[in-house]
Amino acid sequence: MRDLSHPLSETAPGETGQGGSGFSRRAFLKGSGAAVAASVIATAVEESIAQEKKVQRVVAGKPTELKLDINGKSQTVTVEPRVTLLDVLRNDLNLTGAKEVCTTTNCGACTVLIDGKPALACAKFAVECLGKKITTVEGLNSGKELDDVVKCFVKHDATQCGYCTPGFMVATKAFVSANPGATLEQIRKGLGGNICRCGTYDGLAKAAVECVANAKKGGK
């Protein structure tokens, strides 16, 4: 199930890698016309080459030392190139907030931020994340005061068993930051990539509504 895409391919959340072209299908689709698309590809390829120069040489199949930027700290792990970011976070670094649920990019339980954008850690190889800033649910909640998203989750009872909740927390945080003042309909679409089995969607939606309103008011 895991996609053996180019280590540098930039994939949007919910999408698997698109071969080795180094550009995101979502970014491509955003372009409205061939000229735009061509410039997107060109830029993406340039960025990809620039990135490649920074990347240390990786030997296929052999455990390799990787220095990853996780929650603002440099973390060193020695893993094979096929090891996912999710396994590194959970098994090597004991950052277990991101959960392993589907491993097929269908549930959002492993949502983290990569360079500030939501991504699925089960669909990323750790080696793909060299030179990128990874933020996990633990990183978003390292402050003394509870994050507004967490406060709203608590108030509206957006958790039951809680296994999907960290993924929802990260996805909601990213959504709220990008869409202050979003409507309920936008929230329902924006958080549609995360799955809950206990049925906490009502609380989650109410929490997200309050979060986007707070974000619009105070830029929280």
Binding site: M1, V79, E80, R82, V83, D87, R90, N91, L95, T96, G97, A98, K99, E100, V101, C102, T103, T104, N106, C107, A109, T136, V137, E138, N141, L146, V149, V150, F153, V154, K155, D157, A158, T159, Q160, C161, G162, Y163, C164, T165, P166, M169, E185, R188, K189, L191, G192, G193, N194, I195, C196, R197, C198, G199, T200, Y201, D202, G203, L204, A205
Partner: protein, 715 residues
């Protein structure tokens, strides 16, 4: 001194009980700090992977465990099957490997798979086709029952309806899969187990491992969903413990997603051929049914006992046939087997109402006299409340006679019942001389809010703020408490804690009475103080200081017949939805649940149980099912891409109304986890029939089934 009796306080005087209080562990979960079994990473932990069968029926003829023992990182290998053993369903476990790293264990499983050989046997997985099953010699009669004279009643009936209905098998799909982390400390085994039964599982580990249950500690601080499927140590739990022993290292073994779906638990299917008849007044006079389905290789299915659900009609004839399928074994699924009973009973009744040209609401109201357990009057009240909320009288139209256009709107309803009496529970409540309060019990919070309602119970009883009490649960070393299943937890734990807290408080009152020269009978605990009438006698801390050096320790037990808890709820659900007749897609507009459940401890988490029930109900009504391929015997959608669950945008507006007259408060605490998940299948099916004018007979109501029914025309 007046007699001291256990009881709840006056409803109007409650400070915490019955209010909406956020669950105390919500922030721990939302920040990712909560550690589940799958998150357990003690030093040196090995990772296990499983080899499971791709065949639905086969005999293992060769496997070479030795071939993988020296592969990189491999530390232990376990065989579930020996050469010659039979495999009875796809996904059945053959072997497990524990290695330094997960990917090394995966490599070893692949290598092991290359050594495994099978003699493939004939399989049967078609749960819906009873004729085919009979031809394949896979059916077994599971009983029949008769009451009155169905034949005679049918002769004189005003309307007779014959129909076929069904509901497919689903999987529990726990987001945290089944599994454990096992670590030996000398002769003692520490197990972190994703379980609904902390107190019940140590002996399940001990016996096959040849140790005493006292050597086993089971811990479950958090559990990522069980829904009735996590009461056992399971063969893979024992395998983890054995591999941990062999390797001399801790082992974490969680089922992978596909295996979780195949063997982690399924809910039996149910299909029915039924004839049902009513008199001119719209009252049901006869029910005649035969139903079938599967619960796996063992046959089984949906229990005959409570058919037709939840009614006791004057003339009934019913029979059940079980089908043995080569599919993963069933496990209890939230409210077994009520959701299926409801989904194959109440659509038939609704079709009979349509035949009588009656409004479904009037038809169900008229037939409440036949509901079991004496809940008729409560159902009637609940129906009135639900109808008002969903605007039934204004929105209802005869079947298929809604507004013109390709998107059809419809209304449907169904009703349910459940016991929810209290389970066994023992807790130890400690009051420390500094005023700190904590309790210990071997129960578990499976996401229902158990921690929260225990703290509310203790804090309310002792007159303390929520932060002034602490609960310790999730360890088998604490006093034994029943498994969490069947809605028995809330009654069990709240009853035991109320008794413990009241007993402790009376002891404190005696000390305060002696010290401050007041009558113990007149004392109450409120807002952190001990009061005599309205006068403050001392603070809570001053009272506790009278204990001296040792804490006061009290045991609370249950269940008792002292009025703190009881059982038996009803509940009515009504749904307003739209069906796109071009695509077959069903969209929920509004879903209303009116639920009685005795005394509510925390309204917020109680409502969450109801809302969660509605959402799980929408899932099995519209999208989720185990799809078996007859040719290969495989579960072909065993992943989260093809096993369809609704997302946040797929559930519409949900309204949970708690039916709470004082008469409910006076019943004491009753469980609520199961009831709200029972009726959605029938309510949604009935609303779709109302919308499009034909019955879509089998759940889930996927676009294809809806379009097929529209093409077929007649109900």
């Amino acid at each position: 001194m007046a007699e001291r009796k256990f009881g709840w306080g006056k409803r109007s005087e409650n400070v915490l009980i019955g209010k909406s209080i956020p669950r105390i562990d919500a922030a721990v979960k939302a920040t990712g700090a909560a550690k589940y079994t799958a998150d357990t990473n003690s030093k040196g932990t090995l990772f296990a992977r499983l080899l499971s069968s791709k065949h639905a029926a086969a005999k293992l003829t060769a496997i070479d465990l030795e071939a993988v023992k020296n592969l990189p990182g491999v530390k232990a290998v376990h065989a579930f099957k020996e050469v010659g053993d039979e495999i009875r369903w796809e996904g059945e476990l053959i072997a497990a490997v524990a290695a330094e790293r997960a990917e090394q264990a995966e490599d070893a499983v692949k290598a092991l798979e290359a050594t495994a050989k099978f003699e493939v046997l004939e399989h049967f997985v078609d749960e819906a086709d009873v004729a085919r099953a009979a031809f394949a010699n896979r059916t077994k009669g599971l009983g029949k029952a008769n009451k009155g004279d169905v034949e005679e009643a049918l002769k004189t009936a005003k309307a007779v309806h014959k129909g076929f209905y069904g509901i497919h098998t689903i999987s529990h799909m726990c987001l945290e899969p089944h599994g454990s982390h096992c670590e030996w400390k000398g002769d003692d085994l520490d197990v972190h187990l994703s379980t609904q039964s902390v107190s019940g599982t140590p002996s399940q580990f001990a016996e096959p491992l040849g140790i005493d249950a006292s050597n086993v500690t089971v811990t479950a601080n958090y559990e990522g969903g069980g829904f009735g499927s996590k009461f056992q140590a399971d063969e893979w739990g024992i395998a983890a413990a054995k591999m941990a022993k062999e390797a001399g290292r801790p082992v974490r073994l969680m089922l992978d997603r596909a295996t979780e779906l195949k063997i982690g638990g399924t809910r039996p299917s149910g299909f029915i051929d039924v004839t049902v008849a009513a008199d001119a007044d719209g009252k049901v006079v006869a029910w005649d049914s035969i139903h079938w389905g599967t619960a796996g290789v063992g046959g089984g299915g949906v229990d005959l006992g409570q058919m037709p659900y939840p009614f006791d009609f004057p003339n009934v004839s019913k029979a059940q046939v079980g089908i043995s399928c080569n599919t993963g074994p069933n496990r209890a699924w939230r409210a077994p087997p009520h959701p299926q009973l409801c989904a194959i009973t109440q659509p038939a009744l609704d079709d009979l109402a349509a035949k009588l040209k009656m409004d479904s609401y009037d038809f169900f109201m008229k037939n409440l006299v036949f509901t079991q357990h004496g809940k008729g009057e409560v159902y009637a009240e609940e129906m009135k409340i639900a109808a008002k909320e969903i605007d039934w009288k204004k929105k209802w139209h005869p079947r298929g006679k809604g507004a013109a256009g390709p998107v059809k709107q419809g209304l449907g309803m169904a009703l349910h019942t459940w016991g929810g009496g209290p389970g066994a529970c023992t807790c130890t409540l400690k009051i420390h001389p500094d005023g700190a309060v904590e309790s210990f019990l071997g129960s578990q919070d499976i996401g229902t809010g158990t921690r929260t309602i225990i703290c509310i119970t203790m804090a309310e009883t002792l007159g303390l703020p929520l932060e002034g009490v602490k609960v310790n649960l999730g360890s088998s070393k604490y006093p034994a408490s029943a498994p969490s299943g069947g809605s028995i937890t809330v009654g069990g734990v709240s009853g035991a804690h109320r008794r413990a807290a009241q007993t402790a408080l009376w002891k404190l009152f005696d000390l305060v009475a002696a010290k401050y020269k007041v009558e113990a009978d007149g004392l109450t605990a409120k807002d952190g103080n001990i009061l005599n009438g309205k006068d403050k006698v001392c603070t809570w801390k001053q009272a506790c200081a009278l204990l001296g050096q040792m804490p006061l320790e009290v045991q609370g037990k249950g269940p008792e017949k002292d009025g703190l808890t009881s059982e038996r709820v009803g509940g009515v659900q009504m749904v307003d939805l739209s069906v796109d007749t071009g695509t077959g897609l069903v969209r929920i507009n509004k879903f209303v649940s009116v639920q009685d459940c005795g005394m509510i401890i925390d309204e917020l988490t109680a409502k969450s149980q109801v809302l969660g029930g509605l959402i799980m109900g929408i899932a099995y009504a519209l999208t989720e099912e185990q799809i078996m391929d007859n040719k290969t015997g495989r579960y072909i959608n065993a992943d989260l891409l093809n096993y369809k669950l609704p997302g946040i945008g797929d559930v519409g507006e949900l309204v949970a109304i708690m039916y709470q007259p004082d008469s409910e408060y006076d019943r004491g605490v009753i469980g609520l986890g199961e009831p709200p998940v029972i009726a959605p299948g029938a309510a949604i099916s009935n609303a779709v029939a109302n919308a499009i004018g034909v019955r879509v007979p089998v759940l889930p109501l996927t676009p294809k089934r809806v379009l097929d029914a529209l093409k077929g025309g007649q109900a």
